[in-house]
């Protein structure tokens, strides 16, 4: 207001006033330009996401893993591979039994070694250096391994009494374990499964 009052008070402009005015105009133009550019940059990602279809709703781009997290993910991967294979071998022992390809004694023969596999995998995973940021995933993975181990112990009981209830209980545990290992996989290996 004081500058306005001053301008109204004096209709004549000296060099200093003109220079100050030009300077202020220049600064204003720079600020306006910067705001426009900032606005464009802010709009750019949304425009790109729309153009490419984007990820599904609610899924935001995830930050890269830190070096320590990368190391943990890389060291857990071979354990995870073996675990998945053992889990499916357990499922197929049940399938083979239900399809009449093997008898109940063969279920025990096939599944008992898997109990040790799951136990060993849990011990191996338990020895990994875990970054604090992945402690939750680590605990979840250990719990999944324990659940697989418990499933295998339950499944072997069918050799004793031939009751399907052991297979049903084991399948539920195995299913829950596979969900949990997928949860960990989603954080550590987002490219684990691709369209096929």
């Amino acid at each position: 207001m004081s500058a306005l009052a001053s301008a109204h008070g004096s209709p004549r402009f000296g060099f200093k006033q003109i220079a100050m005015g030009v300077l202020l105009l220049g600064l204003g133009a720079i600020a306006a330009l910067a705001m426009v550019r900032e606005g464009r940059h802010a709009a750019a990602p949304a425009q790109n996401a729309a153009a490419v279809g984007g990820a599904f709703t609610g899924h935001t781009e995830r930050p890269a893993l830190s070096p320590a997290e990368e190391t943990y993910a890389a060291e857990l991967w071979p354990i995870h591979q073996q675990t998945k294979t053992s889990a499916v071998q357990m499922t197929f022992a049940g399938l083979a039994y239900k399809l009449g390809d093997i008898d109940k004694a063969a279920v025990k023969e096939r599944v008992s070694p898997l109990t040790k596999m799951f136990r060993d995998a849990r011990a191996q995973a338990g020895r990994l250096q875990v970054p604090p940021s992945l402690e939750k995933q680590h605990q979840r993975y250990l719990a999944a391994l324990k659940q697989y181990e418990d499933a295998s112990v339950e499944m072997v009981k069918v050799a004793r009494d031939g009751k399907d209830e052991h297979l049903v209980a084991a399948q539920k545990m195995s299913y829950a374990a596979s969900e949990d290992s997928l949860r960990v996989g989603d954080a550590l290996w987002p490219g684990e499964y691709k369209p096929n």
Binding site: F56, F92, S174, L182, Y193
Partner: protein
């Protein structure tokens, strides 16, 4: 080859039921196609080698860089029976599939068509990959039909000593470098769950599951135990192909698509099977055809948008069947 083998006692009864009805007269079925989700921005050449992008090319075969691939599920109503061909996959907090879009729960999509998940009586999976054999537990009354050869193929790959041949994903980034993969423990537990509950029929080769509705083996046309489904309708016979028919343009132009465990000769023989059964390529139903739900894939053009941007199409209506299109 022309028999259904029941896996367990209850399943065997289901199989006998199948044989019992096979002699009845075939009736036309009503058919809809539902988009379970869409895989976005897939390089065209990764899906169909003949369609690889060549920058600057004017050839319509090579001037498209990426495509969006729907995951199509067939909904087939024959009298009181409601059959699904494939069952998509289930997006959950632990299986997000970054880069996919428009996923919607299949039971909710069926509701839009006026059906309940409990109405589904049969699910024929074209093969056992995770994106075609998911959501099985959401259809408690449905009997699953899977080829014995598919299970044998998975078990063979599971126990093969070289990790490059593996039923589970041993290489991050899909199955191009471990081509027998695509079977996560969870998917196989769902299939096993159907067997355990007496809701599975293990099919050996060809089988008629309802009058005129026939399973045809297409072994190694995509996976070891791929299978097709022939369906009689008012517009002629349809043949669903799952990933033996990943691309309808592939069938039309005789180009292979989505090679995994594919024996390309067997894939072409599966294409030929559709030509022989339907009299051409128009009625072949592809699982991932990018042109789905558009005029360019005429069979699917009578379409609309459903939940979360997923699309649906009404393909054929049996006599007396009301349209489900809004």
């Amino acid at each position: 080859m022309r028999r259904v083998v029941g896996a367990v006692a209850t399943v065997a009864l289901a199989g006998l039921g199948v044989l019992g009805t096979a002699t009845a007269q075939a009736q036309n079925c009503s058919v809809w196609l539902v988009e379970s989700s869409r895989f976005m921005n897939v390089p065209f050449g990764a899906f169909m080698p003949d369609r690889a992008y060549v920058p600057g090319s004017n050839s319509p075969s090579n001037n498209i860089n990426t495509v969006d691939l729907p995951v199509n599920v067939g909904v087939i109503k024959c009298g009181k029976e409601l059959v699904l061909y494939d069952s998509g996959w289930k997006q959950q907090d632990y299986l997000k599939m970054t880069g996919s879009d428009h996923w919607a729960p299949l039971p909710d999509q069926l509701k839009l068509l006026g059906f309940s998940a409990n109405d589904v009586t049969k699910i024929v999976i074209g093969h056992g990959h995770w994106d075609h054999a998911g959501q099985l537990m959401d259809f408690p009354n449905a009997v699953l039909y899977v080829q014995r050869e598919e299970l044998k193929g998975i078990e063979w790959a599971l126990n093969y000593p070289n990790p490059r041949i593996s039923a589970v994903n041993t290489s991050q980034g899909g199955c191009m470098r471990t081509p027998a993969c695509g079977y996560p423990p969870k998917t196989l537990d769902e299939i096993y769950g159907k067997v355990l509950s007496g809701k599975a029929v293990i099919v050996d080769g060809e089988a008629e599951i309802l009058p005129g509705v026939r399973i045809h083996p297409a072994h190694r046309a995509h996976t070891a135990g791929s299978q097709l489904l022939e369906v009689p309708t008012s517009i002629g016979k349809l043949v669903f192909g799952s990933d033996a028919y990943s691309s309808w343009e592939g069938i039309r132009d005789w180009m292979i698509a989505n090679p995994q465990q594919t024996d390309t000769v067997q894939q072409f023989l599966a294409y030929e099977k559709c030509y022989k059964i339907t009299g051409g390529y128009q009625n072949c139903v592809a699982a991932h055809e990018p042109l789905s739900y558009s005029d360019k894939y005429p069979l699917t053009k009578n379409s609309w948008v459903g939940i979360n941007g997923s699309r649906m199409a009404e393909i054929a209506l049996a006599s007396g069947e009301k349209s489900r299109k809004p």
